[in-house]
Amino acid sequence: MDIKRRQFLKIAGLSTIAGLGAPAAFNLLLKGGPDTVSYASSGGEAEASHEAAPTGVRLGMVIDQRVFDANKGLAQKCTTACHTVHNVPNFGNKKDEIKWIFEVPFEKAFTGKSQYHKNKNLEDSSFLVLCNHCDNPPCVRACPTKATFKRKDGIVAMDYHRCIGCRFCMAACPYGMRSFNWRDPRPFIDQKTHNKEFPTRMRGVVEKCNFCVDRLARGQQPACVEACGNTGAMTFGDLNDSHSEIVKLLDNNFTIQRKPSLGTNPSVFYIV
């Protein structure tokens, strides 16, 4: 009795699987499939083009390096503006260093892009790097407490009160854009420029660029963008709004992202 039932179930099971699978398999063999050639992608742009039309807001930034190259000192102005607005301390040493946006040479910003003869323009040019507010952020994946999280508008934000200071996010960020408060930062904030509208941090938590989420809420531009004035060096906006200025820039210029092969889909683009 038992054996019969087992056999019946086996046969029934196998024939069901065969029945379900066989036509599909035959179809594939006969037609060769519609997708004999398809493209795997690694870059954010390529990825996006394969997806259904994106919905919702995704905030991003375009950095026009041509403008920064023509205006020496402008990048420094951006850094100062950002670090002042956000009460970023200045410890005066590399070990304790905290930085949200800073200048680095091309090969540091865009590692792995070799050049046999370095482009003359790149030689004394330095690139502003900041949190990329990735569409697929590894730091958010790593955080064990959701102290760093992605907002609906694409901003990768931090909750300084929830962070336990494990620094997993720092190991996870492939761009080196996160800083840790190795010691009490408050004595190292310039009292003359202290911004009472933005919180200071305590020791033992991680921090980074937040795309000026609080300024955006008040209808202002990010501090670095504002510092650029009307030079057009930095453009901030919604990457999903086809009428926005940033999308027009992306449409009309060749832009690059940092380490696109990692699949993080950075929201900061550079016109070199």
Binding site: K95, A142, P144, I164, R167, P174, Y175, D184
Partner: protein, 386 residues
Amino acid sequence: MLEKALTGSNKYWGWIAVLLAFMAAGALSYVQQYNYGLGMTGMSRDVSWGIYIAQFTFLVGVAASGVMVVLPYYLHNYKIFGKITILGEFLAVAAVSMCLLFIMADLGQPTRALNVLLHPTPGSILFWDMIVLNVYLFLNIFVGWVVLTAEKKEVAPPKWIKPFIYISIPWAVSIHTVTAFLYAGLPGRHFWLTAILAPRFLASAFAAGPALLILLCLIIKRVTKFDAGQEAIQKLVTIVTYAALINVFFILLEFFTSYYSNIPGHMHTLDYLFFGLHGHSQLVPWMRVSAIFGIVAIVMFLIPAARKREDTLAIACVLLFVSFWIDKGIGLVIGGFVPSPLEEITAYYPSFQEIMITLGIWATGFFILTVLFKIALSVKEEKMIS
């Protein structure tokens, strides 16, 4: 049974006193670090994990290696290990305790540690690591204690303990696998981004852990009446030798993939660790010592005369343990941060306080180990007398 830890010879109390002194020194340094912040350590923006997380990673392996005596005894009924199973389990307890202490020492906001439970995040590997480590700690304390109590009463262990023992076997593998996943899933850290990181971790763990257990057995033989027996120790030697050889094989695989593919990002850290990168060779002496010690130890394990003599066996175990401690406890974690994502090279030197805290936690681990072993061995000695 705890009372058995409260009676002992002068040597026992002397050893306890030494450990307490180191624990106190570590605690004092920790108070300093707690008040000042992690800036007290040598860590920086670029090398954001240092010897705390390195020790943690190494010790997860020591903890997992308990399974190397538990599995043969309980799954294959290998009776010879019956005498030392409890030692393997209690070694795991001490090692996991150290792991948890090292994590706590490394947190910027230790008082918020429970946020990991208050805001559970299944997407984070650290969340899972916390779960598997704590469950493993519980399993080993529980199983060890129940089996030892039964031994004391001279009855067979209760049947209901078996499921806990069987669960603890794959669980041991899980703790080191999950710990490897902390590293192996991070984009942009080429040195860690390797699918054989978890197998590598397990191989080095199953070599270093039992090597430590052999050393402990040899020490115990001198200071107590308990003898694990030549056969058990030689079987451990076989396990250590195989695991060590597999680990060396895995490391050579990493070298092949990196250097034959010739992809710069894959070669950078190995260059930095073994040959020096752009003139930076801070860790090169360490890694070379690790390589030499490892090879010498394996050769000694392979020579019958060397592995059968207790003194040469002890030397081989020490060499292997030190070799793998450097490889995993220094090279793997600290090396992984060089070069940084911006391809900068930052050196890391642990500070005085950082070293004292590290020694203090090791002392705490050995304190737990001593007390647990004392209890277990007292029970066994009593039986031998009666």
